[in-house]
Amino acid sequence: MGTGLVAAFACVFLTVMVAYFLLTGGEAQLEDSPREAELRALRERKRTIYDNLRDLHFEFLAGKLGEEDYRRGRGALEQEAAQVTRKMEGRA
């Protein structure tokens, strides 16, 4: 009987603690608007292209890439960056 009573008290205490935790606290933060989210995605893409350019340049300096591969890769990435920047300006 004694053990059962302790267990019952423990169960009630646990429930009260959990209920207190659930019922107190603020609101969740809402997300960006779709326009902001789209702009953010474009900025992320541009950042990735910059990272790719940085890696490409480093690999060229390290002697891993020939002149031809480097120029081709850099041109393609610059073109991609230009497209993304134009899209960003169009949406800003």
């Binding site: 541009k46 031809e68 960003m88």
Partner: protein, 717 residues
């Protein structure tokens, strides 16, 4: 205590259920209070399940044999640390342990989202934004119209993705928790009392589990299995929400790396346990439960490679999403075959009736994945196409293709006994030969790709670059293979493996030395300006890439260890006093035979002197124990490891006619490299998870945003 534990798992189920429902309604109605409440409920599940776990451990430590689980899996004489392991040694306890880990992962993810939300709020506060826009990195960017458009905020993108996806990811994690909590409450409760009178002592822990590795192997394995739920939740949430950009894949990748690390450690510890405990001289037998752990590891490995295609080039989005789904589903499948007795295994829990629960959950999860994919498949449209077959992209594609073929082969071999029973009425085991014959050549090709991939350029690689990068590694590879042949290796697979190891290690060494040379030329490498400083700086600048190379070094070391098994030797014989046995370069001499007895077990031990070239080397003590509580006996293997080979001695029993001890001796070359390779792999993964130490933001190599924004002709002029 058992009442309190039962109540705790019931309360946890209510909380998880509330979290799912409140989360769904909150998201549907855009009600931020309801969403916050759902997230708090999801967080509360962890402490409540912890209460249940503490109750069960308490019952085990108190030897409360009124509880069926404790009576079945523990006994009074069991040492303290093995009593802790009782928590996950049986069906019900391990399911509770699984739920606990899952709720722990969800708790950490939710806590991370809260902290990230606070960090984002601080970083995007007006004062901080002004400071950020005044920075050099931001100056190169065109000034966007929105307040959030700063370089500083771009660095926050993965944190934003984590925060924004968390409400839906919490719902998905909560739904998974609900499934396991339903099992904990209604199908496999660890708090059920014995229907009969309380026994004076329990049945004890399975002797096979009474090893140090077994205290840590299951938690690691479970952390891996369960951990894949988190990337699954984020990936599914991103797909359902059509989350813009690719930063969500960073979140998914990071969580996958965490789970992959734990699963890798778990698998290797399992192999190490099998090697040290089961006494057959090997570490991997293509057992269905081993395969069950290996399957999600394979798909997760494929994802960790192919995700780079998405991050770098916006390709393979559909493929990546399905790899994440497949990894989660295979983890569930693994849990299913381990627990239901579907396939025979030394690891599997006994036959149980929870199979239909798993089948239902698997089907529901698959349907949800399919629904999310078909509804949002246009969101996963690739941004680029493959330009050449000789490119980094094609290297990753081949890598993924091979990994997937291995996955299918292992899956097929694992379920074949079940399929054959359905079709022909009898279980047919494909056996080790099937797995080895298919997988060994595939793994060798994978090793080759491990060396080739990093040396190929993105988009297209010219013949000149190929020559420049591959000549030295190819020469080293051929020389190593020739040296193996001259050294007496005759089996073609080890020769090819050693050659490929030489090839890949050379490519990795070249990657490090070339990169460090650039840093040294630029005056980097610290005050000393030496190679170690340059190599450190190089690694910390791009932890993911160079950590990845260290992982590859670890994998190569493991491959070398595995290839060594082609040179194994073994012999067996009775060893009366002063008898001799020869194995590898050693002579074994039987010196003594002893018996011991304690509360937990009785043991017989053989004292074996090891000599090499007539010189004493060491003494080894292979033994055999009889565990009293479980009435089972178990071999205690004696192992002497050196970098060249392991000497592995098993007390195989006693000769029925003479009563002399029988010794089974193995000589296993290069074995230790498997365990060293695993440590290197784990360290490399940890390194790859660290953030890079390099300035970010501005355009590199003289390219800036204005130039990039200008017409292409102008940029090239």
């Amino acid at each position: 205590m058992q009442l309190f534990g039962s109540f705790a798992i019931l309360l946890a189920l209510v909380l998880a259920g509330y979290g799912v429902l409140a989360g769904i309604f909150g998201l549907a109605r855009g009600d931020s209070r309801l969403i916050a409440s759902a997230q708090r409920a999801a967080m509360a599940v962890f402490p409540v399940v912890t209460v249940a776990v503490v109750c069960l451990v308490g019952l085990i430590l108190r030897n409360d044999f009124t509880v069926a689980y404790v009576a079945e899996h523990s006994n009074r004489a069991l040492p303290f640390y093995y009593k802790i392991a009782v928590l996950w040694s049986g069906q019900e306890g391990s399911l509770l342990f699984w739920t606990w880990l899952l709720s722990g992962y969800a708790f950490i993810a939710l806590l991370g989202a809260r902290r990230k939300a606070r960090g984002i709020a601080q970083a995007t506060a007006p004062g901080n934004l002004a400071a950020a826009t005044a920075g050099a990195g931001a100056a190169a960017l065109p000034v966007p119209a929105t307040r959030a458009a700063t370089d500083e905020e771009e660095a926050l993108s993965p944190r934003l993705a984590h925060r924004n996806l968390m409400p839906l990811a919490a719902v998905i994690l909560g739904a998974i928790e609900c499934f396991f909590l339903l099992l904990n409450n209604f199908a496999a409760s660890p708090f059920v009392t014995l229907p009969v009178a309380t026994p004076p002592d329990g049945n004890g822990l399975n002797p096979l589990l009474q090893y140090a590795q077994m205290v840590i192997h299951p938690p690691m394995l479970y952390l891996g299995y369960v951990g894949f739920s988190v990337p699954f939740a984020f990936c599914l949430a991103a797909l359902i929400k059509r989350y813009p950009g690719d930063r969500w894949i960073h979140v998914t990748r990071r969580w996958t790396m965490v789970a992959w690390l734990f699963l890798t450690i778990g698998i290797v510890l399992g192999g190490n346990w099998a090697y040290r405990v089961l006494g057959w001289g090997g570490y991997w037998a293509w057992d269905p439960v081993e395969n069950a752990a290996f399957l999600p590891w394979l798909t997760a490995t494929a994802f960790l490679h192919s995700v780079m295609m998405q991050e770098k080039r916006g390709m393979l989005k559909v493929w990546n999403v399905w790899l994440v789904f497949a990894t989660f589903l295979l983890a569930v499948f693994g849990d299913f075959i381990t627990r239901t007795g579907l396939v025979a295994s030394v690891h599997a829990f006994a036959q149980s009736d929870i199979g239909p629960w798993f089948v239902a959950f698997f089907i529901v999860a698959l349907l949800v994945c399919g629904w999310a994919y078909f509804r949002n498949r246009d969101f996963l449209k690739s941004e680029n196409a493959l330009e050449s077959t000789v490119s980094r992209e094609s290297g990753f594609l081949f890598n993924n293709f091979i990994l997937l073929v291995i996955t299918f082969a292992v899956l097929w071999g694992t379920v074949f006994p079940v399929v054959s029973e359905w079709i022909e009425g009898q279980k047919i085991d494909v056996g080790r030969v099937f797995f080895d014959r298919i997988n060994v050549p595939l793994f060798l090709f994978l090793l080759f790709l491990t060396g080739v991939g990093p040396l190929l350029a993105w988009r297209r690689t010219s013949l000149n670059s190929l020559k420049r990068n591959f000549t030295a590694p190819a020469v080293v590879g051929v020389l190593v293979a020739a040296a193996s042949l001259l050294g007496g290796v005759r089996d073609p697979y080890p020769i090819v493996c050693f050659g490929l190891a030489g090839f890949v290690l050379t490519t990795i060494a070249m990657e490090f030395t070339r990169g460090a040379a650039v840093i040294r030329r630029r005056g980097g490498g610290g005050i000393l300006g030496g190679w170690p400083a340059a190599l450190t700086q190089l690694t910390l600048r791009n932890t993911r890439r160079y950590g990845g190379y260290i992982v590859h070094v670890g994998i190569i070391l493991i491959a070398i260890g595995i290839a060594g098994s082609g040179l194994n030797q073994q012999t067996q014989g009775a060893m009366p006093y002063h008898a001799h046995m020869r194995i590898g370069p050693y002579t074994l001499v039987s010196e003594n035979y002893t018996q011991n007895d304690n509360a937990n077990y009785a043991s017989n031990s053989l004292e074996v002197a090891v000599e090499r070239g007539g010189q004493y080397v060491t003494t080894m003590y292979p033994a055999r124990r009889f565990y009293k509580a479980s009435n089972q006996d178990q071999s205690m293997v004696a192992i002497r490891s050196t970098p060249l080979a392991d000497l592995y001695l098993v007390y195989a029993g006693n000769d029925p006619s003479s009563g002399d001890p029988i010794l089974h001796a193995y000589w296993n070359p290069l074995m230790v490299w498997i365990w060293i390779g695993a440590i290197v792999t784990a360290l490399g993964t940890l390194l790859a998870m660290l953030p890079n130490r390099r300035p970010s933001g501005g355009a590199p190599g003289g390219v800036n945003a204005r130039a990039a924004a200008a017409p292409v002709e102008e940029v090239h002029a």
